[in-house]
Symmetry: C2
Subunit: 501 residues, 2 copies
C-alpha cells in the first residue's frame, strides 16, 4: 500500500540471485512482512498471500471432505509427558519446540509444548473414539499453525518458525486400507500442485531410513525450484502400527476379536505458497495461475478528458459482465494514477489477465486482453466477453503449467557412478536419477561432498510399495535388473538425487 | 462413536441442572472432549462442533468480504515489550497470558506471550501500511485461536483457556467512519445469531467504565441463556485514537497534512457454539437450526426382510434427490441398528429433520417428515420432495427462533429502585431494565449483593451514541426525561441489569 513509485520495481535477478529476488517479490508484492523485532523467523502473512492460502485450503478441503475426512480442532499445547511418550516409542523424534513454562502469573508444574505436529495429542483421542470395526476408518484433519524452533535463516513460506498447515490423522482396520489412504492423500497433494498451482511434481517415497520418525513409509511430492533444488511439497505417511501400539488404538473386529489399528498422517503447509511464488514469478514480480489468484482480471481504462465518460461506462459494463460470470475482476478506475503505473502495479501483484479499454476499443466494440506471464496481447469482441476471458484464463494456466513442465523435464538427468552423479548435480542442479541398491551407505558418497541426497524414489508399476508382510518394497531383492550406480550390487529402485530445501 | 446404548440418553435436567445438562449434551452429542491430563481448561473440538464452527465462519466471513474486509495472519506470539507498550498506554490491560520462555533448547532473551488478542502486534503493522488517505479504510481480520489463562472452571465453548475466534482490526480517516465500521460489524454479529443460529439478541453498548481497555466505546450483542444469565455474544469496539496515537497510525490527508487515524476492533468467538447448544437443545440432546446443522435431514428406512429391497431403493432415490437439491442429507441404512435406536441417536446429535420411509410410504408414494425440536410429524408426497424438505427446514428455523424470542420477551422485566431490581433478578433471573443516570456508583448497589451488572445499554433512536466531539452519548445530560432507578438523579439511558457469564 506504499505510494512510492520506486517500490514497484523488482531489482534482483531471478536467475542470478534467486534468494534475494524471492525475498524482494514477497515484500514488494505485499505477500508477507517479517515478524516484529525479537521474533526473527516469524512472518506476517498479508492479505494477498492469505487469500492464496484460502483458495488452496478450499480446493484441498473439498477433496478431503469428498473422501471421508472430517475437520476437528485439538489444543495448541501438548504436555511434555505426551511428547516424551512419543519420543520413547518413536526413535529420532526430537523436535525443537517452544515451551510454555509460565501462565496466569504462575510457573506451570509441567511444561507445555506449542504443537510442532499433533500425533501425540490426537492419537490418544482417536484411541478413545475407536471401539469397533464400525468406527473405522476414522479420519480427522485440522487446519492450524505449528511451531518448530529451527535456527536456520528465515525464508518466508519456506522456512519460518511458525507455519500454517493442515495435518490429517487416520486409523484403519487393515494395513492395506492405510496404504490406500496414504496414497489418496498423496494424489490430492499432487492435484493441488498440478491442477491448482500449475506446478508439476514428482511423486514417490523417501528412502526407508529417511521416513518421518515412527512411520513405516513416507511418501512425498517433490517440486523443482528455479535454483535447482527440490522442495518436499507435501508428505503422506503410512505409520504402520507403531502409533496404534503406543497409544493403544484397538478395535473389536466382526468376530469380536480385539485387533490393533493401522494409522496414517499427512500434511501440506504454506510452503506451497513459497513454491508457487518461486516457480512462476519473474522480474516484474508475482505471477499467479488464475485458480489461486485473488483477482483474476483487472480492467484498466485508458482515457483522455474527452473520452473518459464513454470509456468508464463501457469498462463498468465489462466489469459487471465478468463479475456476473464469476470472474474475480477489479476495475482500476483510479484518477490519480496513469495507465503505465497501473500496468506495473498489477504486474507486480500477479494479476493474471489485464483488460485494456481505450477509446478505440469502445468505438470498435472490442477489448484488449494481455497475459501477465508473457505479455501476449489479443483483441477480442465485447460481445461474449465472459467466455473469452474464461478461455484466456484457461490458456494462461496451460501456459504456466507447460513452461514449468518443460523446465522440470529438462532438469531430470541420468547418471551412473558416483562421479557422474556429483558432476551432473554440480554443473546443473536439478534431479539426477540413478539405479540404487536401497542402502543408505550408497547415498553417503553423494551427500557428504555436496549436501545432495536421495529426495525421492518413484513408485514402480503403480506398485504401492508394499509386501504382504508390510515391508517396504524398496527392500525387495533383485526386481530391478540393473546395478546400483554407487556400489554395483543389484539395484532395487531408481533414486532421485537432488539438493533440497 | 461409542457403541454403548446407555451412552445415548441425556440424564440431567435442563431446567434444574443447566450446567450439568449442558456438559452432558456436549459430551454425548460428540461436540467436545476435555483436554488431556495436565491441561485443564482446554477442550478437543470434535468434528460435529467443528463443522458448526465452519458454517458460522462461512456465513460471517462472506459478510466480512462483502464489506471490504481482507483476511490475514499474524504471528501466534507477541514479544513482552509489545504487550508492555499496550499496557502503558491502555490502562487496565493486564491479560493473564501464557508465556513461552524456552525454545529450541535455549532460554529466550525476551518472553513471548501466546496471543490473548492481537491489537499490540497488528496495530504496528497497520501503522506501516497506512501512508495516505487512499490507504484508508484499512481492514484486516484473522481467524485464529487465542489463549487466556483464566483459572475459572471450564465450560466447553463458554470458558476455555484456548478458544477459536476471529478478530478484526481497522483504521479509518474519521471518527464517524470508525463508528460506521463498529456498528456494521455489530449488525453482522446480530445477523449470525438471529439469521443463522436462530437466537434473538439484544444490541447495545457497555457502560463507559466497562469498555474494552483502550476503547472509547464497546458495543455488544447479548444473548439470554436458559439459566437466566446473559452472555456477551460478540463485541465491536470503537477504539477512538488511543491505539493510533500509541502505535503512530498517521496518514497524509488530501491536502498532504498528517493526521491521526481512528481504529476499531471486533471479535466473535466459539462462545457462539456454546450459546447455540444452550438455547435450543433439550433432554433428548442437541437441537440445531438447519443453517448450521452438519446434516440437515436423515433418512431412516424401516423395513422387514421382505420389504427391505423396495424400501431401500426408494430411500436411495429420495436421498439422491435431496442431495441434488443441495440438502445436506444422510441415509442411515445400517443393518445392525433398529429404527428406534437410530431415532434416538439422530435426536441426540441434533439432526433437524428425520425422514421416515417404510413399506406404507413406498406404496403410497409418500414420506414422513419429523421435526427434531418438537416431534411434529407430517406426511408429504414423494413428488416434489426437495421443495417440501426445504420448506420444512425453513419452518424449523422459524419455530426455533419464535420459541427463543418468546422466552427472551418474557425475560425482560422492568423495575424501579434498588430493591425491586434485586428482587426481580433474584426471583426470575433474565434482564431487568431500569432508567439509569450513567454513573458506575449506581451499578454497585446491584453488583455487590448479587453479582448482577449492567450488561447492556440499548442504543436509542438509532443514535450511534456519539457526539460531534466524539464523546459517548451515554454521558449526555438530561435527554431521557426519567430519573435513575438507584439515585433519583435525571436518567440518561435505560440500563439492562443481568447476571452474566
Amino acid at each position: 500500500m506504499s505510494d512510492d513509485v520506486q517500490e514497484l520495481g523488482i531489482t534482483e535477478s531471478k536467475s542470478h540471485n534467486t534468494g534475494e529476488w524471492y525475498a524482494e517479490v514477497v515484500r514488494k508484492a505485499g505477500l508477507a512482512d517479517y515478524g516484529p523485532e525479537g521474533m526473527s523467523g516469524f512472518i506476517v502473512t498479508r492479505p494477498r498471500a492469505y487469500a492464496i492460502w484460502e483458495r488452496l485450503q478450499g480446493f484441498l478441503d473439498a477433496k478431503f471432505k469428498n473422501t471421508g475426512v472430517q475437520n476437528a480442532y485439538f489444543p495448541l499445547f501438548i504436555p511434555e509427558s505426551y511428547l516424551e511418550r512419543e519420543k520413547d516409542i518413536v526413535e529420532g523424534f526430537d523436535p525443537e519446540v517452544a515451551w510454555v513454562t509460565e501462565a496466569g502469573n504462575e510457573e506451570l508444574e509441567e511444561r507445555l509444548a506449542v504443537r510442532p505436529t499433533s500425533e501425540s495429542i490426537i492419537t490418544p483421542y482417536i484411541s478413545q473414539w475407536v471401539r469397533s470395526h464400525r468406527d473405522l476408518p476414522l479420519r480427522v484433519n485440522q487446519w492450524c499453525s505449528v511451531v518448530r524452533w529451527e535456527a536456520t535463516e528465515t525464508k518466508p513460506f519456506f522456512r519460518t518458525k511458525e507455519f500454517l498447515w493442515q495435518e490429517g490423522h487416520t486409523a484403519h482396520a487393515t494395513h492395506e486400507d492405510a496404504w490406500t489412504e496414504t496414497l489418496t492423500r498423496l494424489d490430492q497433494y499432487e492435484s493441488v500442485y498440478e491442477d491448482l498451482l500449475a506446478i508439476p511434481v514428482l511423486k514417490g517415497q523417501k528412502p526407508d531410513y529417511d521416513t518421518f520418525p515412527g512411520a513405516e513409509t513416507t511418501t512425498t511430492v517433490e517440486a523443482l525450484m528455479p535454483d535447482g533444488k527440490s522442495v518436499q511439497a507435501g508428505t503422506s505417511h503410512h505409520l504402520g502400527q507403531s502409533f496404534a501400539a503406543a497409544f493403544d488404538i484397538t478395535f473389536a473386529d466382526e468376530d469380536e476379536n480385539e485387533r490393533l489399528a493401522h494409522t496414517t498422517s499427512w500434511g501440506l503447509s504454506w510452503r506451497a505458497i513459497g513454491a508457487l511464488i518461486m516457480t512462476h514469478s519473474d522480474e516484474q514480480g508475482l505471477v499467479l495461475p488464475p485458480g489461486v489468484a485473488p483477482t483474476q482480471a483487472v480492467i484498466v481504462p485508458i482515457w483522455q478528458e474527452d473520452t473518459k465518460d464513454a470509456v468508464l461506462e463501457y469498462a463498468e459494463g465489462v466489469a459487471a459482465d465478468l463479475d456476473d460470470a464469476g470472474v474475480r475482476v477489479e476495475l482500476d478506475d483510479r484518477d490519480e494514477r496513469n495507465p503505465g503505473f497501473k500496468f506495473n502495479e498489477h504486474e507486480l501483484n500477479g494479476i493474471p489477465l489485464r483488460v485494456e479499454i481505450g477509446p478505440n476499443e469502445v468505438d470498435d466494440g472490442e477489448l484488449t486482453l494481455v497475459h501477465r506471464p508473457d505479455g501476449e496481447s489479443t483483441v477480442v469482441d465485447r460481445e461474449g466477453v465472459a467466455a473469452s476471458v474464461a478461455a484466456h484464463l484457461d490458456e494462461l494456466y496451460a501456459k504456466l503449467y507447460a513452461a514449468a513442465e518443460e523446465t522440470l523435464d529438462g532438469e531430470v538427468r541420468e547418471a551412473d557412478g558416483r562421479d557422474e552423479i556429483l558432476g551432473t548435480l554440480g554443473q546443473h542442479g536439478g534431479y539426477v536419477k540413478a539405479p540404487w541398491c536401497g542402502d543408505e551407505a550408497c547415498e553417503a558418497p553423494i551427500k557428504e561432498p555436496m549436501a545432495a541426497e536421495i529426495v525421492m524414489v518413484p513408485f514402480e508399476d503403480d506398485d504401492p510399495l508394499v509386501d504382504a508382510d508390510g515391508d517396504d518394497a524398496a527392500g525387495d531383492a533383485g526386481s530391478h535388473g540393473e546395478t546400483c550406480a554407487i556400489c554395483g550390487e543389484p539395484a532395487q529402485r531408481t533414486a532421485y538425487f537432488a539438493k533440497s530445501y
